[in-house]
């Protein structure tokens, strides 16, 4: 009995926090807009018994999904989000790997401090940190003042309100999510393997490619997915740092929801986004499972 309860607990959790909200969103995506509270129809009226349920059921259809295919805006926004997510994941990996590598090679007594430094930014609200980037990247901002002061540039650079600022914001925000799994993988690396490789005539560079990279592959995969998946749906960073021409699906979703008051189409956009993300999420879970198995 206790065993069943223990197994049931995570499933109940999943049911309450993922499956039920998912069904609600799915249901709204099959509804039509209405000028009412809430702004969609039909809503389930249980007081009318079976007839109410039948009416409700017959009012649902897939026309919002058909609508998404009729306007190029939506697939362009999905593709643009995909592009931004792929590029920023790659940059985060390139920046994060040397950091994680350095941390794992540091002397033992230094490591807790270094780990602390990676986590430290979380002590400040995410929103405030993104706003701080606005002050740094603005036309009259800190970065331009320093660069002009040093004589590197004569005219201020336009970075804020461009895609460059979005990339900077995303890489900065998600870097810890990349560094931590990489560090976890690299820390476990057995030094004797590298010594053996060098004894057998490998250069250090070659040993890095043949041993360190493959053995940290699970960290690379885990870190990349932890960055890629949330960046796909990112809304705050492109809104605060991006320009009017930064097209991301999170912003399109906002417009559907707020400007058009079209909750059904907004829900359909969200369901399609989830469908796109299911593939990497499943891959991520597989990777986690493999890692868990190899650890035990």
């Amino acid at each position: 009995m206790r065993r069943i309860a223990l197994i049931a607990l995570p499933y109940l959790w999943l049911l309450a926090l993922f499956f039920v909200p998912f069904l609600i969103v799915l249901k709204i995506s099959l509804s039509d807009t209405a000028l009412a509270i809430p702004p969609y129809a039909p809503t389930l009226d249980l007081s009318e018994g079976w007839a109410g349920i039948r009416d409700w059921w017959s009012g649902l259809d897939f026309e919002n999904y058909v609508f998404l295919t009729t306007d190029s805006l939506y697939w362009k926004a999905y593709l643009s989000s995909l592009k931004i997510a792929v590029i920023s994941t790659a940059i985060t990996l390139l920046v994060g790997y040397p950091i994680a590598y350095g941390m794992s090679r540091a002397r033992d007594e230094w490591r807790p401090t270094l780990l602390m430094l990676v986590i430290l930014p979380f002590w400040t609200s995410f929103l405030i940190r993104v706003y701080a980037w606005k002050a740094i990247l603005a036309q009259e901002g800190f970065l331009n003042q320093v660069l002009i002061g040093l004589g590197v540039i004569s005219e201020p650079l336009t970075i804020l309100n461009t895609n460059t600022a979005v990339y900077i914001g995303i890489v900065y925000t998600y870097l810890p999510f990349m560094v931590l799994p990489l560090y976890a993988a690299l820390e476990k690396l057995d030094d004797s393997l590298l010594e053996a490789a060098e004894d057998l005539g490998c250069t250090r560079m070659k040993a890095f490619w043949l041993i360190t990279i493959p053995l940290s592959m699970q960290g690379i995969v885990a870190g990349s997915f932890l960055v890629f998946i949330p960046v796909m749906g990112e809304f705050v960073i492109p809104t605060l740092l991006g320009g009017s021409d930064t097209l991301m699906i999170g912003k399109v979703l906002w417009e559907e929801f707020f400007s058009n008051r079209d909750w059904p189409v907004a829900s359909a956009v969200a369901i399609v986004l989830l469908a796109i993300l299911i593939f990497p999420i499943v891959l991520f879970l597989k990777n986690e499972e493999k890692q868990w198995e190899s650890d035990t």
Binding site: T33, L35, A36, I37, P38, P39, D71, S72, L73, K76, A77, A138, Q139, E140, N161, G243, S244, D245, T246, L247, V252, E255, F257, F258, S259, N260, R261, D262
Partner: protein
Amino acid sequence: MKTNAILLGAGLALIAGAAAAEEVRVYNWSDYIDEELLTRFEAETGIDLIYDVFDSNELLETKMLAGGSGYDVVVPSGTFLQRQITAGAFQPLDKDKLPNIANMWDVVSSRTAQYDPSNAYSINYMWGTTGIGVNVGKVQELLGEDAPIDSWALVFDPANMEKLSQCGVHFLDAPAEMIPAALKYIGEDPDSHDPDVIAKAEAVYAAVRPYIAKFHSSEYIEALANGEICVAVGWSGDILQARDRAAEAENGNEIAYHAPKEGAQMWFDQMAIPVDAPNPDGAHVFLNFIMDAQNMAAASNYVYYANGNLASQAFLEEDVIGDPAIYPDAATLDNLFTTTPFDAKIQRVVTRLWTTIKSGT
């Protein structure tokens, strides 16, 4: 030390207890009130006031249509108010609880009745126009002494905008006002609900889009005041606030506002009580407080918007009541236009067009 902590705890509990007694939650536009009024309200009525702000009608409307916003007083603009009344989002006002309603100005209330028939659900808070704010010095430097700062041509003629882009131009991120402005510029009906007419706005924006630095509905006040930008299409009072901030900072930026001579949109921000307001009685007390002639005058003197309160005009400062940018003369008033709400289908066309204009997609 420990006793201090206990005392502090007891004090906090007392404060919490008082707060539980009665509170009113107000959701108003940002930079839209003299904050001294908020303290005065609490002192006079003993009701705790929780005051939150927003900067777009769309945001407010979503909260209203979702229901359960928890606010007692909200401030939608005319067309949005009308749609939300239809959706059943507001409760009718109990005018017996609003003796100060006698102070209201029929010039305004006859116009707001277009959105809220017989003003059953709302009172006017402020009204204003959507026009152009300029940094006079910088614009004249780029366009010469006779720069058309009182015409839509300043921001819709690509020849002007190409030069102005050097010093920065912001537009409101509000399609319900920016598309009518473009239609007015090309001589179309600004209140058109015909998709073919509305679509003509796209070409107007396409020509000047490369020169627009940003679409945003509240950042331009500060940006205009500190010289980061030199032109903003925005709301009258906001730009006049920028003018005053620049004057206070003595940074050499001289800001001016004009309702363009081709015609500018006139809008009304109305205070209303959500149907599910937790404290409708407190909400009425707040509305009555706001309609007090001196209080309303204090708000207008502070934010540089005209109000719909006739009695308050006796207490308005000369640079408010005497400024035609705030209280337009009869001729200008005739030149202002109002708009009516779009239905869902046309709204989608408008939003989509606006996305195209902003993102080029």
